[in-house]
Symmetry: C2
Subunit: 203 residues, 2 copies
């Protein structure tokens, strides 16, 4: 390293270590991976958690259909292959966000166990928190916030998870939430406790 006395800028060969950014942010990078049926409450909880965290001065960020499906993954559809590539890319972006020190929350149906496992391995154990929104299908379908179940039942949408495409329930999720019994606020309290217990934020 060649130090320039006047500016204190030194030359470095590689990336800044993650721990340096975590020191600046006074938190540790984490990926909260929300999974569940359409209408199971993933996005609602993700946003509620994001807002709660930034209110405490934490750097949090939600990746969901709004900013991924219309951006990075706009060239992907809903075939099994495209769903797999969709989740693969989200896992890779999540890894970058975690490396940047951000508490990142993803909200995607992510119906395949194998795809979620790849995301877990990409991001790494200790960084990855799978949160299963285990809300019964009939509750999700009654909510039908985007009218998608109705269209799927009418045959206007093909390959819709829970109707004519499978959802493989997690078997080793770090946390399970049934939003037919738990409010988004109470779910958020549980997730903040989970992150705190995992040492991602000072109490």
């Amino acid at each position: 390293m060649t130090e320039i006395k006047a500016t204190n800028i030194t030359w470095h060969e590689g990336h800044v270590d993650r721990t340096v950014r975590e020191g600046i942010l006074k938190q540790k990078g984490a990926l909260i991976w929300m999974t569940g049926l359409s209408g199971s409450g993933k996005s609602t909880i993700a946003y509620t958690l994001e807002h709660a965290l930034v209110q405490e001065g934490r750097l949090a960020y939600v990746l969901d259909g709004d900013n991924i499906r219309f951006g990075l993954n706009k060239n992907l559809g809903f075939s099994p292959e495209d769903r797999t590539e969709n989740i693969r890319r989200i896992g890779e972006v999540g890894k970058l966000f975690v490396d940047a020190g951000i508490i990142t929350i993803t909200a995607f149906i992510s119906p395949y166990e194998a795809d979620r496992q790849i995301a877990r391995e990409t991001v790494g154990e200790g960084n990855f928190f799978e949160v299963f929104c285990d809300t019964p299908l009939d509750v999700c379908e009654e909510r039908d916030p985007k009218g998608l179940y109705k269209k799927a039942r009418a045959g206007e949408i093909k390959g819709f998870t829970g109707v004519d495409a499978p959802y493989e329930a997690p078997t080793k999720a770090e946390h399970v939430i049934d939003t037919s019994k738990l409010s988004p606020q109470d779910a958020t309290i549980e997730l903040v406790a989970m992150l705190t217990k995992a040492g991602k934020m000072s109490a």
Copy 2:
């Protein structure tokens, strides 16, 4: 919004606004897009800038071949189509990082003007700073830090930018650096000044 008095957590419908995160970080999101030939100094300047910024307590992050080509874009090669998709994805990830409030630095050859223009439009004027590492080919080739020019001249690598694939020089870069004349440290000082002038960081 339903307030829970005990916890002060409220329910929100959408994403946290970028300005909220920028307030927490006391900086504004920006994407510094380094472009130039292999060996032109892109990565060296990117790392030097990243280290200089975090030393000042700024949240900065470098996207380069190390963390993109072996991760998000590992399913892409070097054909013109794959190069275009490579840059498209990097632009989309850069947009997410800027939205998260991060001063982001990308270091990719990015030889095509049209691809860089797409990245600029994706990230948005005012957020995007194209920095052209305008180092002469003979200097880059003499440096040849990875031995790639030697292999390209020997025909062991096909489609190598500057040898048998084109590099389209930027015509409207926000900043131009010739690293045969300017050290990485001095380049960093110029880029910090550029960011400060653009209002991305308090002085």
